[in-house]
Symmetry: C2
């Protein structure tokens, strides 16, 4: 279905449903780069939404690696499953439920993506710290200022270094009858760090 090695699958290749968010391709590409993946890695995708990050991560970690895609919204879980089928990846386990409970049972992770915490930011990041291997990477995408602040507060207190905040604002062209106009998207702030 997607035959290239570099991450960045175009958004329009994914199945979509209303109210389930997708991490757009440019933001997704940057998040994947911050996670620094390798074949054989174990990856969590907490708040997997449409599953776009899980699928790209699954391709990067290859069949020797695995991805756990978690969401508490059953629509997201269904959509992720549909996209997994569409892209023909076989190394993703989709988990329906609260990450705070579900993550405890999983194998230690080399990289964790957090796309949503359902308000339990502090608790989830503490849990991710415990589940990450030494040298493992955490990558958190935030839209809300409140989430960004909470992430920053907790991540600076825990066992993380190389903390990086990158705010990305993307605008895409739209062809009108007279020319190309740019349409701006909302800024996303990506926090990434290495478990010490």
């Amino acid at each position: 279905m997607w035959k290239y090695k570099t991450p960045g699958i175009p958004d329009d290749l994914f199945e979509r449903v209303e109210r389930v968010p997708i991490t757009k391709e440019e933001i997704r590409t940057i998040q994947l780069s911050k996670a620094r993946l390798n074949p054989g890695y174990t990856v969590y995708d907490i708040g997997c939404g449409s599953g776009s990050i899980s699928i790209e991560a699954a391709i990067q970690v290859e069949n020797s690696g695995k991805v756990f895609a978690i969401d508490y919204d059953s629509n997201a879980v269904e959509l992720t499953k549909k996209n997994i089928e569409k892209f023909g990846v076989t190394n993703i386990s989709v988990i329906f439920g609260n990450a705070k409970e579900k993550v405890r049972e999983l194998d230690q992770a080399d990289a964790i993506f957090i796309g949503g915490t359902g308000g339990d930011t502090t608790e989830i990041i503490e849990l991710c710290q415990d589940k990450l291997k030494k040298g493992g990477r955490i990558v958190i995408a935030t839209i809300l200022i409140e989430t960004l602040f909470s992430v920053l507060q907790i991540i600076e207190k825990l066992q993380f270094d190389s903390i990086d905040l990158t705010q990305v604002t993307v605008a895409k062209s739209k062809r009108t009858t007279k020319g190309n106009m740019m349409i701006s998207r909302n800024p996303i702030t990506i926090i990434s760090a290495t478990k010490t």
Copy 2:
């Protein structure tokens, strides 16, 4: 030197010299994603600067592929060579000279990055059209409005489809004594398209 599969080598791992630009990691990562690389591919990097895109592309195309890094600034050529040595990649040929002449002699390309055209935008893009394989990708990063306009004018006339304009504005955090402030970088517009 860099042991991960996903693109996005941190900027501070590259050797730098004054006045030779580097494509910063987040922009570089997006450019690589737009190029859709695979092992075995032939890639040009026109206006290679510090060589950061050449090196990441060389890793993606693996030893079965090759990258031609071209620059008319001898400082850029020297710096690219230094970075190639630092990262231990062996599938990049560095070419000093004017892309308009040098590109003619090269094998057909699967992907072409243009980081600078020295003002000859139209001519270089026409030449790249001729040198790109059908289905090959062109990825052009622009800072100047004039370059963006020129690229758009010519690319819409030539044998390209799936033309995409993505403007990316990145801000990075800086730790002050009182907290984290964001420092904004200039917007970069990335034009990408597929040769028909």
